[in-house]
């Protein structure tokens, strides 16, 4: 009767065997998600085209009208670290859409009926989307260099700026995983995500210095997570006071993860 006893015992054991089991399942789900991203490049294209439009728009259309003389660097150097954060912020919405699609298609039900690590579904989704985000960020950096963006510090700091943005992106992926699992419908997930992310991206230091904003907005626009991360990435690329912004960004990242990862796990349990 116990056809799979040997496997079962190994799988259910604690310690190293369990960790290996979780890692193996996560890897399988990650591969599945990456294959989907490559076969249906819709999300990939969407998350690349949109920030490129913003780069061109702000570099060549609005840029001339925006004064950043106080920062001591050309506007394109001010803009690009902000664009990095904008790219990952809007891109993370697709995580919610993918999660909701898995609920709707019955994929999550399949996973639930299998003797796999439950955590692998969320881990595999966020890891795959982090990989996608990394590729997109590298491409956007190249676009930035092509339109005149220059690093004013050093290569290590520039890589650091990408890492701080990716760290923040990982927290956002959990936010939108939770949204997608709670709404269970790709269209609703997209519709609900934009109003959350848009004010954070636009009422921020991403495109313009907050000093030009009305005083009632300035506090929010300076210390909200998107701005703080943009400021951290900017300091790493352009120089100036860096550590405080980096620490604030990491604090936001950890704070968001602490709230949203359990929320995502909770909605995952209730999603089917």
């Amino acid at each position: 009767m116990e056809a799979n006893t040997a496997v079962e015992v190994g799988r259910l054991s604690r310690g190293p065997a369990r960790v290996i089991g979780v890692a193996r399942d996560t890897l399988a789900i990650t591969r599945r998600n990456l294959t989907g991203l490559i076969r249906v490049p819709r999300f990939f294209v969407f998350t690349i085209i949109q920030p490129i439009i913003f780069v061109l728009l702000f570099r060549y259309v609005f840029g001339g009208a925006i004064s950043v003389t106080t920062t001591g660097v050309p506007y394109v150097d001010y803009l690009m670290p902000g664009i990095f954060v904008q790219t990952v912020a809007f891109g993370s919405i697709t995580t919610g859409i993918s999660m909701a699609t898995d609920v709707q298609s019955g994929m999550l039900e399949r996973f639930r009926s299998l003797p796999m690590a439950r955590s692998a579904v969320l881990a595999g989704r966020t890891v795959a989307d982090l990989a996608r985000t990394t590729v997109v960020l590298v491409i956007i950096s190249a676009v930035g260099f092509a339109v005149g963006f220059r690093i004013n510090t050093n290569v290590a700091s520039f890589v650091g700026s990408l890492l701080i943005v990716l760290l923040f992106a990982y927290a956002l992926l959990w936010v939108f995983s939770a949204v997608g699992l709670a709404l269970k419908d790709p269209e609703s997930a997209q519709a609900a995500s934009f109003p959350v992310i848009a004010p954070l991206v636009f009422a921020s230091s991403v495109f313009v210095p907050v000093s030009t904003m009305p005083s009632w907005l300035r506090g929010f626009a300076t210390y909200q997570p998107v701005s703080v991360t943009a400021s951290a990435a900017r300091a790493l690329c352009n120089g100036g006071p860096t550590l405080s912004w980096v620490l604030q960004s990491i604090a936001w990242t950890i704070g968001i993860l602490l709230v949203c990862a359990p929320l995502a796990v909770w909605s995952y349990r209730r999603a089917v």
Binding site: T35, G106, R110, R112, P115
Partner: protein, 324 residues
């Protein structure tokens, strides 16, 4: 619990205000096909979802190969394979990739998953399509792959949730053959269906489920005998011939015989024998029907016989949660 592969006792489930299951009981012996027959919203899919640990029951008790699905869901998951409308495969992955993924998540080694996947693709006539994304598969191919995915870990118990809904007759017949083969190999199958014909052809035992309760649970033969009736319809050359035929063969079947214009309609308990006898008697008397139709009772008629009402008249079933 003896030889029961699946044991279900007093299973209850509500979706908010809607009662999906109100005390479902049945047992499925090892190595048999058990049919769960009912209309949309009867509770078939809810039952399968509880047994396959996708959702939890609100009350009652269910075991798969001795593993309590709520106390030991992981143990239960090692015993089951699931195909049909309750669980999906990935449209963007190829047939082979889907099977390997499900195999790996069922905790079999990758190499073994790969070799079994190739075997299954061959067995289900999908070898040529093994490298194509599922998006390009026809409905019949997709259902076959779905069943293959349920088999990759060689679980002793299979849940097939309306496996042939929406398939054309040829694909349906092919899939039936596959299901019969599985049981020859020793598997236990729980099959849900809306089609009496399907349950009749495959299952040794059928539970009829309506509005979240089992209204009948019997062997297929006993159930059909209880329900009557195969309908034989003879269309004769003229009204006069029809009346003559009715007089001659009326004794063969005695359930609700009638003549309507050129048509003689007879309700028979033993369909095949009745048909042979009818044609023999008519032939001996030089009569030949211009058209002949033999109908098994429809699900509607089964429900009428068992519950005294048409399945869709109630309208209170949790149709939204139970899918198609």
């Amino acid at each position: 619990m003896g030889d029961a592969a699946i044991m279900v006792e007093g299973l209850r489930k509500n979706y908010g205000e809607v009662v999906a299951l109100q005390g479902v009981d049945f047992e499925v012996p090892v190595g048999t096909i058990f049919g769960l027959l009912g209309p949309n919203g009867a509770g078939k899919t809810t039952t399968v979802r509880i047994l396959s640990t996708i959702i939890r029951a609100d009350g009652g008790h269910a075991e798969v190969m001795g593993h309590d699905v709520s106390a030991d869901p992981v143990g239960a998951r090692f015993q089951i394979g699931l195909a049909g409308q309750s669980a999906s495969v990935d449209a963007n992955l190829t047939g082979l990739e889907n099977l390997v993924l499900v195999g790996m998540l069922a905790q079999i080694p990758k190499r073994l998953a790969r070799s079994r996947a190739n075997e299954l693709l061959e067995r289900f006539f999908l070898s040529d399509a093994a490298g194509r994304p599922l998006r390009t598969y026809s409905g019949g191919m997709r259902r076959r792959l779905d069943v293959a995915a349920a088999l990759i870990a060689r679980p002793p118990v299979l849940f097939l949730d309306e496996p042939t809904t929406g398939l054309d007759i040829q694909s349906r017949t092919e899939l039936w053959e596959v299901i019969r083969e599985l049981v020859r190999d020793g598997s236990t199958v729980l099959l849900t269906t809306q089609y009496l014909e399907e349950a009749d052809r495959l299952a040794g035992r059928i539970a009829v489920i309506d509005k979240g309760t089992v209204v009948a649970n019997d062997t297929t033969t006993a159930l059909k005998a209880r329900l009557g009736s195969t309908t034989i319809e003879l269309e004769m050359g003229s009204e006069e011939e029809a009346i003559r035929s009715d007089a001659l063969v009326g004794h063969v079947c005695t359930l609700a015989n009638e003549v309507e214009g050129k048509t003689v309609r007879m309700g028979c308990v033993q369909g095949p024998q009745a048909l042979i006898e009818t044609l023999r008697v008519l032939g001996e008397n030089g009569l030949e029907p211009v058209n002949l139709e033999v109908r098994e009772p429809t699900l509607d008629e089964v429900f009428l016989a068992l519950t005294g009402e048409h399945p869709l008249d109630g309208g209170s079933g949790p149709a939204s949660k139970d899918g198609g």
